[in-house]
C-alpha cells in the first residue's frame, strides 16, 4: 500500500508499518479453525508492526521492544486457545506444533444457523421513472483499495474483458434509446450528483439498468492507480433504493464524448452472421446439454477424425506433463491469471499498450458470446500455451530458441531468442507474448523495477528483457524444484509432486496438472474422459491441454 494516498494527505502523522510478510498475527479462518501468521522475512526498513505500535502506546514510554506483539500473541494463545483444548503437552510444545502446522482445530461451535431477513428480499417499494443505477465493486481492485496494483488493473474484467477502466454498462436497447455506442459517454444524474462515464454495451444487461464499478478514479493512489477510470465511490449514498449502491429514478443522457475503453479481446456484434458463433463452428468451445450427455456420453466424439502425420512421432517414456481444464468448473474469475502473473514475473504494460494488443499475460480467459444480445450465453475458456507435441512454433524458429523437452514441455530459451516473432505468427492459439519494450522499465517510469516493488520478483524465474518472446512454461521452475526434491529423496518424480501456479489459485479446482504417462494419475483420467477434447485438433499440433466440454442444464434439447 502506498504511504502517500488520499487518506494520508488528511493526516498529521503517517507511521510506516510492517508488511504482512514481516508481521506476527493470528486469525480465525472460520468457526473452529485458528491459524497463526509468522514473519517470513526480517523487516526491510525501519518500521514497526501496527499492533506493536498500539501496544507500546498502551504500555507507555519505554514499553516498546521488538518482540512485544509476538509475546502478546503467544500469551493470548497460552491463556485463551491452549487451555480449552486440554492437550497433554506443555504450551511450548503446543505452540511450536501450531506454528509448524499453521492451523489448530478448536472445539468452538457455530452459534446456530444464520437466517435471511426475508422482508428485505421483497419487491423494492419505489418504481420511479428513469434509469436504475447500480454501483458494483470491481472484481479485481475491489472498492479501490488495490487500485495501485498494476497486475490487478490489467486483469481483464471476466465478462467485458475491459482493463484499466470502469464504465457504464448498458444494454443494447438502452444504448439505442440514448443514442450511444461503445466508447461513447453518458452523463448519469443522481439526486446527489452528476457524473460522466464511458459506455460499454453489455450483452445480457437488463434494459434500463446502468451498472458502474467502484474503486476507480482515485486521485492519489500512487504511480499506477492515480486517475484510472472515473470515481464512482463518491456516488455511494444512504439515500439509495436498496443498500447504499442501487439508485432508482436516475437521469441518463448522451454526453457526446469519446472515451476509448481498452479490452483484451475484441467483442463482435452478435448480429453479424460473418463472425457470430465462430467459436462453436470452429469447435473451439464445445458444449452440450445434460440430456445429450445422458443419452450418449460420447456425443462429442461422434465425428472424431484420426489425424495422421508423415513424420515420426517422438516417444515420451518418462514423465510427460499435461494439463486438463474442466470448463464445467471454470467461472472465469481470473484468479489463475493473477497467480500466474505473480509467479512468473509477468510485466504490466499499461492501458495504452494493452490497447495495442501487447498485454503480457501467459494465461488468459477467453470469453465467447452466443445467442442474442438480450439473452447471451457466455463461455469461458482459459487459454494458455498448449505445449503441443507437434508445436508449430518450434519448427519455424530460426535459432531453435523454442524447442521441446524430453518431458513434453515446449520451452523458451530467452538467451537464444532474437525476436523474429515467427513463432507467435505460427501459433494457432496466439498464446505467445512478446517484449515489445523492456516492460519493467517502460511501465510507469520503471515503477516495477525500483525498490521496493522489484522485491516482488520471483527469484526462480528469469525476468525477461526487451525483444524476446515468452509464454507459459507449465511453471518449469516448480517442476525443477520438485525434481530436485525427488532426487534428494532418492525416489522417482511423480506428476502429483508439481502444482502449477494457476492450478493452485483456481478456487474451483478446474485446472488439473500432472504426468499423462502415469495411468493412475488424475490427469490421465481427465484425458480419457468422454467430454475431453483438444482445441483446434484438426491443425494436428497435438496439444497437451485437454478441455472438458461444458454441459449446460437447459430446458430445450439443443443449446442455441
Amino acid at each position: 500500500m502506498e504511504a502517500d494516498d488520499e487518506t494520508s494527505r488528511l493526516c498529521t502523522y503517517v507511521l510506516p508499518i510492517h508488511h504482512a510478510y514481516e508481521s506476527w498475527g493470528d486469525y480465525q479462518v472460520r468457526t473452529g479453525i485458528c491459524s497463526l501468521q509468522q514473519p517470513v522475512i526480517a523487516p526491510l526498513y525501519d518500521t514497526r508492526q501496527k499492533e506493536a505500535v498500539l501496544l507500546a502506546w498502551i504500555g507507555g514510554k519505554g514499553s516498546f521492544k521488538e518482540t512485544i506483539y509476538h509475546e502478546y500473541v503467544m500469551r493470548h494463545w497460552e491463556k485463551e486457545i491452549f487451555p480449552p483444548l486440554k492437550r497433554r503437552v506443555d504450551f511450548k510444545t503446543f505452540w511450536y506444533a501450531s506454528l509448524h502446522d499453521g492451523v489448530v482445530a478448536t472445539e468452538e461451535k457455530a452459534s446456530g444457523a444464520l437466517r435471511f431477513r426475508s422482508p428485505s428480499l421483497g419487491k423494492s417499494g419505489s418504481s420511479s421513472p428513469g434509469y436504475v443505477v447500480a454501483l458494483t465493486p470491481n472484481y479485481s481492485i475491489g472498492d479501490g483499495a488495490f487500485a495501485n496494483n498494476g497486475w490487478l488493473q490489467e486483469l481483464p474484467h471476466p465478462i467485458s474483458r475491459v482493463v484499466w477502466d470502469n464504465y457504464a454498462a448498458i444494454s443494447k436497447k438502452t444504448a439505442q434509446e440514448l443514442g450511444v455506442e461503445d466508447n461513447g459517454t453518458v452523463e448519469v444524474s443522481l439526486p446527489h450528483g452528476t457524473q460522466t462515464f464511458p459506455v460499454l454495451v453489455q450483452p445480457g444487461q437488463a434494459d434500463g439498468l446502468v451498472s458502474v464499478q467502484l474503486g476507480y478514479g482515485r486521485w492519489n493512489a500512487g504511480s499506477v492507480g492515480t486517475y484510472v477510470g472515473a470515481n464512482a465511490n463518491v456516488r455511494l449514498s444512504n439515500d439509495a433504493l436498496v443498500g447504499p449502491r442501487i439508485f432508482g429514478g436516475a437521469k441518463v443522457t448522451n454526453a457526446h464524448q469519446e472515451h476509448r475503453l481498452v479490452t483484451t479481446q475484441e467483442h463482435h456484434s452478435l448480429d453479424d452472421t460473418f463472425v457470430k458463433d465462430l467459436h462453436r463452428k470452429r469447435e473451439v468451445i464445445r458444449d452440450g446439454t445434460l440430456a445429450e450427455y445422458q443419452k450418449d456420453p460420447d456425443f462429442l466424439h461422434l465425428e472424431r477424425v484420426n489425424l495422421q502425420g508423415i513424420t515420426r512421432q517422438i516417444e515420451y517414456n518418462g514423465v510427460k506433463w499435461a494439463m486438463a481444464i474442466d470448463m464445467n468448473k471454470c467461472v472465469g474469475c481470473q484468479a489463475c491469471v493473477a497467480s500466474c502473473n505473480v509467479e512468473n514475473n509477468v510485466p504490466v504494460v499499461g492501458k495504452d499498450q494493452a490497447g495495442r494488443g501487447r498485454e503480457m499475460q501467459w494465461i488468459r480467459i477467453d470469453r465467447y458470446y452466443s445467442g442474442t444480445a438480450e439473452e447471451p450465453i457466455s463461455s469461458h475458456q482459459p487459454m494458455l500455451c498448449q505445449h503441443c507435441d507437434n508445436a508449430p512454433c518450434e519448427n519455424v524458429c530460426p535459432v531453435a530458441a523454442t524447442n521441446h523437452s524430453p518431458d513434453g514441455l515446449n520451452q523458451m530459451v530467452y538467451n537464444r531468442c532474437v525476436g523474429t516473432k515467427y513463432c507467435s505468427n505460427n501459433c494457432p492459439y496466439k498464446v505467445r507474448r512478446f517484449n515489445f519494450f523492456n516492460w519493467h522499465e517502460y511501465f510507469a517510469d520503471g515503477y516495477y523495477s525500483e525498490e521496493p516493488v522489484n522485491l516482488m520478483f520471483n527469484p526462480e524465474v528469469t525476468v525477461r528483457s526487451r525483444g524476446v518472446m515468452e509464454k507459459c512454461t507449465f511453471c518449469v521452475q516448480r517442476i525443477m524444484e520438485a525434481r530436485q526434491h525427488a532426487v534428494e529423496q532418492g525416489r522417482p518424480l511423480k506428476g502429483s509432486d508439481v502444482r502449477t501456479a494457476c492450478q493452485e489459485a483456481c478456487p474451483a479446482t478446474a485446472i488439473v496438472f500432472g504426468d499423462m504417462n502415469d495411468p493412475e494419475s488424475e490427469i490421465s483420467r481427465y484425458r480419457a474422459h468422454n467430454l475431453g477434447y483438444h482445441v483446434l485438433e484438426e491443425v494436428n499440433a497435438r496439444p497437451n491441454i485437454t478441455y472438458l466440454a461444458k454441459l449446460r442444464s437447459v430446458q430445450s434439447e439443443k443449446i442455441s
Partner: protein, 455 residues
C-alpha cells in the same frame, strides 16, 4: 519512331539512329564526366531526406524497441515483412533480365540489363535491412548464421527464416559478382578515356587489368555464361524461399502450395514495373532514348501483362482452393480479405495488379510513356499491398476469435518504409553518376553491323 512504322517482318534495330562506336562511348559516359545538374541535386535532396528520416526511425526502433511499430499479438509482422518481400521482389526483374534473357539470347536486354542488375543489388540491400530491423534484438543477427560457438547451439534448419538467410545472401552475392563481372570491360573503357588522375586510379583497380584482348574476351564470355547459369535458378529459388516463410506455416491464408510460383510471378511483375519506371527517367535525363528505346519499354510492358495475369490467376485460384478445400478456416480468411476490415487494401491490390495492367493489351497504351509510367507506379503500389494483405489479413483473424486484433502502422513503420525508398533511390542516383547505366561494350555488340553476318 511512330507506332505505325513498326514492321514485324523486319528485325527492329535495337539501337536507333545508327550512332558510331565513339558516340556510344560519349553518350553513355556523359553523366560520369559532367558535374550533376540542378535536377539531380533536387532529386538527391529528396531521396537523401527520406533516407535520413528512415534512418532516424530505424535508430529509434533499435534504441527503444519494436513497441514503436504498430505490430502486436496477433499481427506480429507488419510493414517490416511486407517491405522485405516487396524489395526482394523488385530485385527479381534484374536477375531475370540479366540471366534468363541472356541465356535465351534476347539481345534487347542490353539496353536495360545494367540498370536492372544495379537495381537488383540496391533492392536486396533495402530488403536486407528489414529482417535485421524486425528482430526484437537486432544486435544478434549473427545467431541466424551457422557459426561454430562455445554454446554448441546450431541454427534450426527446419525454419524457413534460415532458408531465407541463405537464399537472400546467395542472391546478393551472385547478383553482385554477376554485375561486377559485366562491368569490367566497361570500367576498362572508362579507364582508357578518362583524363582525371583519381578516376584513372580507381577505374584501373576495378577493371582488373582488362586490355580488351581476345583472350580476355574469351574468358569473359565463358565466365559470364556460367554466372548467368548460376543466377538463373535464383530467379525462381529466392522468391520461392521467401514465399516459404508463409507457405510453411500452419496459418490459413499463408499455408498454401500456390505461393512459390505466385510469388515468383509477382516478383517479376513488380520488378519490371520498377525498371520501367526508373528507365523512363534515365533515358529522358541522359539522352539515351536511342539506346533505351520505346521498343524496350514496350517489351517490358508485355512482360508486365504476362506476369500480371499470372498474379491475377493466382488470386482467383486462392479463392477457388479455399472454397474447394471445405476448410472453415480457409474460407473465412478469404472472405475476410475481400470483405473484412482490410477490404480496402484487398481491392486496391486487385485493381492495381489485375485490372490496370490489362490496359497494356492496347498497343497505344503500351507505347505511351506517361500512361505506362502511371500503370507501373500502380503495379508497385498493388504489389506492396499484396504482401500487406497476405501478411496482415491472415494474421489479424486466425484460428481463435478471442485472439483477433487489428494492425495500425505508426509513424516509425511509415518512416522506415520511406527510408527504404530513400535508400534505394539515393543509391540509384549515385549509381547513374559513377557507373555507366547501359553496358557500353554490349551496346556496341548489338549495334547494326556490330556482329559479323553471314547472310
Amino acid at each position: 519512331m511512330s507506332t505505325a512504322a513498326i514492321d514485324y517482318t523486319q528485325e527492329v534495330p535495337l539501337i536507333e539512329g545508327r550512332p558510331r562506336a565513339s558516340e556510344i562511348d560519349a553518350t553513355i559516359a556523359a553523366p560520369l564526366d559532367e558535374f550533376p545538374k540542378r535536377g539531380w541535386w533536387i532529386a538527391f535532396a529528396v531521396t537523401a531526406s527520406m533516407l535520413a528520416f528512415g534512418g532516424y526511425c530505424a535508430f529509434e526502433t533499435v534504441w527503444q524497441g519494436l513497441g514503436l511499430w504498430g505490430i502486436n499479438i496477433p499481427v506480429a509482422w507488419g510493414f517490416d515483412m511486407t517491405s522485405l518481400v516487396f524489395w526482394i521482389g523488385i530485385g527479381h526483374a534484374g536477375t531475370l533480365i540479366s540471366a534468363i534473357l541472356f541465356l535465351l539470347r534476347q539481345h534487347w536486354r542490353t539496353g536495360i540489363a545494367r540498370f536492372a542488375e544495379a537495381m537488383t543489388i540496391f533492392a536486396v540491400i533495402c530488403a536486407g535491412m528489414f529482417p535485421i530491423l524486425h528482430l526484437g534484438r537486432p544486435w544478434l543477427p549473427l545467431y541466424l548464421t551457422p557459426y561454430p560457438n562455445q554454446h554448441g547451439v546450431w541454427i534450426n534448419f527446419m525454419s524457413p527464416l534460415v532458408w531465407d538467410v541463405f537464399a537472400v545472401s546467395t542472391y546478393f552475392t551472385v547478383s553482385l559478382v554477376f554485375w561486377y563481372v559485366g562491368l569490367i570491360p566497361d570500367l576498362a573503357t572508362l579507364r582508357d578515356r578518362t583524363t582525371s588522375k583519381l578516376k584513372k586510379i580507381i577505374y584501373s583497380i576495378f577493371s582488373l587489368g582488362w586490355r580488351h584482348s581476345n583472350r580476355h574476351w574469351h574468358h569473359y564470355e565463358r565466365a559470364y555464361l556460367i554466372l548467368a547459369g548460376f543466377a538463373t535458378p535464383l530467379v525462381l529459388s529466392v522468391h520461392t524461399i521467401v514465399s516459404f516463410d508463409f507457405a510453411v506455416s500452419v496459418l490459413p491464408g499463408w499455408h498454401s502450395t500456390i505461393f512459390p510460383p505466385y510469388f515468383v510471378a509477382g516478383a517479376i511483375f513488380s520488378g519490371f514495373a520498377m525498371v520501367q519506371n526508373a528507365l523512363i527517367f534515365v533515358r529522358q535525363s541522359f539522352n539515351l532514348k536511342h539506346i533505351i528505346t520505346l521498343n524496350h519499354l514496350e517489351k517490358m510492358n508485355q512482360i508486365i501483362i504476362v506476369t500480371g495475369s499470372m498474379v491475377g490467376y493466382s488470386y482467383l485460384m486462392e479463392f477457388f482452393i479455399s472454397w474447394y478445400s471445405g476448410s472453415e478456416f480457409e474460407r473465412f480468411v478469404f472472405i475476410n480479405r475481400a470483405l473484412g476490415p482490410y477490404a480496402w487494401a484487398f481491392w486496391v491490390m486487385v485493381s492495381c495488379n489485375v485490372l490496370f495492367p490489362q490496359l497494356f493489351w492496347i498497343k497505344k497504351i503500351r507505347r505511351s510513356v506517361p500512361i505506362m509510367f502511371v500503370i507501373g507506379v500502380l503495379v508497385n503500389v498493388g504489389m506492396w499491398m499484396e504482401r500487406f494483405v497476405i501478411i496482415v489479413t491472415s494474421l489479424q483473424r486466425d484460428f481463435l476469435p478471442s485472439s483477433w486484433g487489428m494492425y495500425y502502422p505508426t509513424i516509425y513503420d511509415i518512416g522506415i518504409l520511406m527510408g527504404s525508398f530513400g535508400l534505394f533511390f539515393t543509391l540509384i542516383l549515385i549509381f547513374v553518376r559513377v557507373l555507366p547505366v547501359v553496358s557500353i561494350v554490349d551496346t556496341k555488340a548489338v549495334m547494326e553491323g556490330g556482329q559479323p553476318k553471314h547472310h
